[in-house]
């Protein structure tokens, strides 16, 4: 079979990317860039525009005029059209669509404290990208030339999660891992158990209970896809369950950021809540980026929860398989192979995440002790040392400090004119955060910490790529959410799913408000 379609679409998209890059590079778009306040994206517009424009034009010319033969070259190059299609939509939303919404929203004025409507509703490039994907597939449909490449969105998301591994410190990963294991453990097992219990009370078939419990408990459609063959779900049961989960997931993606803003949740709290309460893992990432579009701290927390959930998936599928076989004793041909279930359902990309984390910890991408891409290094030039006036300011106020560690850290700073250790730096941050000294002294302390903290260039690049990969992946996944599939929501799965989903979301929010603090 030949996968490449003779079509000019890829060539045209390549030309559009090149035009954006050229016009931005030459300053012809300065008016628009200024109006939309998107100067921070100019580098992307030029760099990505030229790179993907060139790819689009070269491969697009081959699509249109080349000789296509069955084989790997045809198969892999056929995917470029779909990938560039997603990218063009995702970047159009990121560079122009979302900023335009922000301009319109700001024109209305603040609606909740200092927050504007688009902040409260989380209408940023991620959510609008998913929406653009949903609109594309449901209004226009995915063109035949793009169908093969649209599936690459999954690869984009998995690559994004793997790269995310570079941004965690060991302490952060350990703390978040513990928190997520407890939260996910309680709520996954609780939701699975609750669905099975409600299912028995409402007399639904075991196969329906099995597939619904996996979907509601673990990670939405992904868990349904994994569990359906194992519990031998009927087609109507699969349709009801996936429809229910899709509606619930899309609804939560919009609702969670609004509630998070109303309650003024911190990044860790919101990430933990979204990672526990939202059923579909794609929408967890969407909600996290909707809540914090200009940073990835929330996404980092949410993704640890996602990874924990997906690690639970083989266990839950195995549990359901054993549970189903035990209940349906009438089918002797249906047995459970523990090894096969665990091996097939194991999320291999999580190994990539762990590998990147391990590599990052060895210092390949940034000094090993980096935290959020920043690392301590006091080997600074002479002109960066504290000036005599700054030393005098600190010396005059050093007596105000009572705690021994604070006295020692400031004394060391005065003596050496620079911070000498990470421990001292932590103490000095504590001093200016506590506002013990005057504004002038705090300014000196801040300057002293700033000069010994350096940003790792590689980590900065990773952060940028992670954001782009998630934007690409989530826009592409939006193209796979059809209204026809959502309309299948109904029957007992809708009732039971509604009860369990609401209970899970509300209880997890309460637990997070009560027990999860904003520091890890």
């Amino acid at each position: 079979m030949i996968y490449t379609k003779k079509h000019p679409a890829l060539l045209i998209m390549g030309i559009i990317f090149l035009a954006i890059a050229f016009l931005t590079d030459t300053g012809s778009m300065n008016g628009l860039v200024g109006y939309l306040s998107v100067k921070k994206f100019v580098g992307e517009m030029v760099g990505m525009g030229y790179a993907f424009g060139a790819i689009g034009v070269i491969v697009g010319a081959w699509h249109q005029w080349g000789q296509h033969k069955e084989g790997n070259v045809d198969y892999y190059l056929s995917t470029i059209a779909g990938a560039i299609f997603i990218l063009l939509i995702a970047m159009a939303v990121r560079w122009y669509g979302a900023p335009l919404v922000a301009v319109a929203s700001k024109a209305i004025g603040p609606v909740m404290g200092a927050k504007h409507l688009h902040d409260v509703l989380g209408l940023n490039y991620v959510v609008l990208g998913i929406l653009a994907g949903i609109i594309t597939v449901n209004v226009f449909g995915i063109p035949a030339w793009a169908e093969n490449g649209v599936r690459l969105s999954r690869l984009g998301l998995k690559t994004g999660v793997i790269l995310l591994g570079t941004l965690y410190s060991l302490g952060e990963l350990a703390s978040l891992g513990r928190l997520s294991a407890v939260m996910v453990g309680i709520f996954v097992l609780g939701a699975v158990g609750m669905v099975l219990w409600l299912g028995r009370r409402r007399n639904i078939p075991n196969s329906m209970g099995g597939v619904l419990s996996a979907g509601m408990g673990v990670c939405g459609v992904s868990a349904t896809v994994a569990a359906a063959p194992v519990v031998q779900a009927k087609s109507v049961e699969i349709a009801y369950t996936i429809g229910t989960i899709l509606i619930w997931g899309v609804g939560c993606m919009f609702l969670f950021p609004v509630i998070g803003n109303i309650l003024d949740l911190g990044h860790i709290q919101f990430g933990a809540w979204a990672g526990t309460g939202i059923l579909n893992s794609a929408q967890v990432a969407g909600a996290a980026l909707a809540y914090q579009p200009d940073g990835i701290e929330t996404l980092k927390v949410a993704e640890i929860f996602n990874i924990t959930r997906v690690l639970f998936l083989p266990i839950i599928v195995l549990w359901l398989a054993v549970w189903y076989v035990r209940l349906e004793e009438t089918d002797p041909g249906h047995t459970v192979n523990v090894g096969t279930v665990i091996f097939e359902k194991f999320p291999v990309f999580v190994l990539g995440f762990i590998l990147m984390f391990a590599l990052s910890s060895t210092g390949v991408f940034a000094p090993a002790q980096h935290y959020k891409g920043k690392f301590f290094d006091n080997n600074i030039k002479a002109e960066k040392l504290l000036k005599s006036g700054q030393v005098a300011t600190l010396t005059a106020e050093a007596g105000k400090l009572k705690r021994a560690d604070r006295k020692q850290a400031v004394a060391s700073l005065i003596e050496n004119k620079k911070i000498m250790s990470i421990e001292d730096e932590t103490v000095i941050r504590g001093i200016y955060n506590a506002k013990i000294l005057s504004k002038g002294s705090n300014k000196v302390l801040k300057t002293a910490t700033k000069v010994v903290r350096h940003t790792a260039k590689m980590i900065k690049k990773f952060r940028q790529w992670i954001t782009l990969l998630f934007a690409f992946g989530l826009t592409g996944l939006g193209m796979q959410i059809t209204i026809a599939a959502m309309k299948q929501a109904g029957g007992q799965p809708l009732v039971i799913g509604g009860i369990v989903g609401t209970t899970k979301a509300v209880l997890s929010l309460l637990v997070i408000l009560l027990f999860v603090k904003e520091t890890i």
């Binding site: 969105s153 998301l157 349904t224 896809v225 994994a226």
Partner: protein, 155 residues
């Protein structure tokens, strides 16, 4: 009016079974043949939704499982209606199509020459089943055969 060929669209729901009975009786009274159209709704193409966590093996297994499940359910329906037709000595044929019910029925009627098409009425609210209704306006505008819509048994 001479009725030689009848087409019935059915996937075995209670409403469609009434249409089957009407079509069978009509075929027997007129000595006509009965053609059974079974439509597999095209929403199944989007039923992996936004799953991205599973590996290719799991997705492939799910796709195969759903295909087999749908094929098995279709085969059961075809066997059942073929049995009923044989019981009434009515000549029976069938076809399975993937798509939207109205589009498929119009296409099938265009391909063969049918005198009458029989369908069940839409499922009342609250009755279990797929959300894949026959688009009646589209059907009556595009259909070349005469159309009979039988009432739902629960109405």
């Amino acid at each position: 009016m001479k009725i030689v060929k009848i087409i019935v669209a059915s996937h075995g729901t209670p409403g469609a079974k009434v249409a089957e009975a009407t079509a069978l009786n009509l075929a027997r009274e007129n000595g006509a043949s009965l053609h059974h159209l079974l439509v597999v709704p095209d929403f199944w193409k989007g039923m992996k939704g936004d799953d991205w966590l599973n590996n290719a093996v799991t997705q492939f297994r799910f796709g195969n499982y759903v295909e087999n499940q749908l094929a098995q359910e279709a085969a059961e329906e075809i066997d059942r209606l073929a049995g009923l037709a044989a019981g009434k000595s009515v000549s029976y044929s069938h076809d399975i199509q993937l798509g939207k019910p109205a589009d498929c029925l119009i296409k099938e009627c265009d391909a063969g020459v049918f005198d009458v098409a029989v369908i069940g009425s839409p499922r009342p609210r609250g009755v279990p089943g797929y959300r894949s209704r026959m688009a009646l306006e589209k059907l009556v505008r595009g259909l070349t055969a005469q159309l009979i819509i039988t009432p739902h048994p629960e109405q």
